[in-house]
């Protein structure tokens, strides 16, 4: 039994005040079904990745809700939550159920509706992913990653300007993605002149508050390879301490290291085999840690490589975040992990248009929940 992603869909990401979460999901699922060529009656189970519907909108029971909306009454459905990794974890659970021969064809949905609410309420809601001690301290997610950034910059003698260069790359790619929240370039000067959110992180180093949905269909096949399917060759999850106080090393996310190691072993590949990657860049420092923890660059060296264009379309090996990443494509929490797989699927099929990574054969997605409390790494190939 081999699992394949056979259809994908994603909405525009952004501040979508006039679209309800139901309609966002419907749009993404309609695209994914049309892309796969299967009918909705062939769906055996539904997995929904979402973090904030309860705490922000007082709406839980999303499995039943979206099945009702999609005309899937009677079909089993599950909401999966793992903070910002909710989408990736929903995919992982769908995959496991296929590998266990429980279901053959699963619909995976990632969705978040954030901009209906005030920024302070959203900041507060997101802190549900953190440790109680960190909430009491009045920390925020920019604050938690700022603490990591401060430690990293000291250890490897990195300047704020070096760190800011990551966002320039994200926006370069997003400018080629019509679905991105910010489909335009930014300059290093603009990043450096943006206001501090949590020192040393500035506004243009932080992923935005976004609405959006992504959907995909994953199915198990025996024997011959699917015609348009992208094979999932590994999906591994690992955890770490919930809060930063539980970490001895603030310059790495151990959950990423562990999940990546297991995934590479499972797929029998090495990091340099990856042609294209979508990594969890909720903040500039998050991308830096990801590039090193995933094994693309040695610890302390990734910013040098980023500045040389080593993750950019055309010159990158691998090309990282061709969608624009969480930073520039947008970060509707539960949708992000699913969107990453959607992007990699499109890339491996060679259908990414202007942002196509030429000849991409192996792709990676990396989705993190909390400040590294949980991470998932998926490997896909064509």
């Amino acid at each position: 039994m081999k699992p394949f992603v056979i259809g994908v869909g994603v909405t525009k990401f952004g501040e979508l005040w006039d679209i309800s979460p139901r309609n966002l999901v419907k749009e993404a699922v309609t695209q994914a079904l049309a892309d796969s060529g299967i009918t909705i009656s062939e769906i055996d189970a539904v997995f929904v990745g979402n973090m904030l519907s309860g705490v922000l909108g007082n709406q839980e029971n999303l499995g039943a809700l979206y099945n009702d909306e999609l005309g899937l009454k009677g079909v089993p459905a599950f909401k999966i939550e793992g903070a910002c990794a909710s989408g990736g974890l929903a995919f992982h659970n769908a995959l496991n159920s296929i590998l266990a021969n429980k279901y053959k064809t699963c619909l995976v949905i990632g969705v978040e509706k954030m901009t209906d609410h005030k920024p302070e309420e959203i900041t507060n809601a997101l802190m549900a992913a953190a440790h109680e001690e960190e909430r009491t301290a009045g920390l925020t997610f920019p604050g938690l990653y700022a603490i990591l950034a401060r430690a990293y910059c000291k250890k490897y003698k990195i300047t704020e300007k070096d760190l800011a260069s990551v966002s320039v790359e994200s926006h370069y790619h997003a400018a080629l993605n019509p679905k991105a929240q910010f489909p335009f370039k930014v300059t290093l000067k603009q990043v450096m002149e943006s206001n501090y959110i949590a020192d040393p992180l500035k506004l243009l180093e932080c992923s935005p508050i976004s609405d959006g949905a992504a959907a995909l269909i994953v199915a198990g096949f025996d024997g011959k390879k699917m015609k348009r399917g992208v094979e999932v060759i590994a999906s591994e999850v690992a955890t770490d301490s919930l809060g930063l106080s539980g970490r001895n090393d603030l310059t790495t996310l151990k959950s990423t290291v562990l999940a990546a190691k297991k995934a590479y072993e499972q797929a029998k590949i090495v990091p340099s085999d990856v042609d294209v990657a979508e990594v969890h860049d909720c903040f500039s420092i998050a991308q830096v840690l990801a590039l090193e923890d995933l094994g693309f660059f040695k610890k302390g060296t990734s910013l040098k490589e980023v500045i040389k264009g080593k993750i950019r379309l055309g010159s990158g090996a691998p090309v990282v975040n061709p969608s624009g990443g969480l930073k520039a494509c947008g970060h509707p929490i539960g949708a992000s992990g699913v969107k990453q797989i959607v992007e990699i699927t499109i890339q491996l099929r060679g259908e990414a248009g202007k942002r196509q990574v030429e000849g991409a054969k192996i792709g990676l997605t990396h989705n993190v929940g909390g400040s590294g409390a949980i991470a998932i790494v998926n490997l896909l190939k064509i």
């Binding site: 900041t123 507060n124 001690e133 009045g138 920390l139 925020t140 401060r150 949590a198 106080s245």
Partner: protein, 100 residues
């Protein structure tokens, strides 16, 4: 931040075990976009502290000046009000740090 009197009561043991303990700043930030409930305090520094016995803990830094925000700065755990409560609510207290 929702305030539960039961939870505050349960946490008293942890809080009292940390009071007056000393340590050093190992990283920090200044929060400028606070969560709901913390607006009045912003911007405020939050420090990650390695206490003398090796335990790590995060908390706000109070009575601070710019020069206190540096690696290795000695601090002490103190008891402070965390946020302004509702008029009829319980006042939540907890651990913060002050520079030494």
């Amino acid at each position: 931040m929702s305030i539960s009197p039961v939870k505050i009561w349960r946490h008293q043991k942890i809080i009292s075990s940390l009071l007056k303990r000393k340590g050093k700043i190992i990283s920090w930030t200044i929060v400028r976009t606070p969560p709901a409930g913390y607006e009045q305090e912003a911007p405020y520094p939050v420090v990650l502290v390695k206490l003398d016995d090796g335990l790590r803990f995060v908390g706000q830094l109070v009575d601070w000046e710019e020069k206190d925000l540096k690696f290795g700065k000695k601090v002490e755990a103190v008891y402070r009000r965390i946020i302004k409560p509702d008029p009829e609510g319980i006042i939540p207290y907890g651990i913060k740090f002050r520079p030494l």
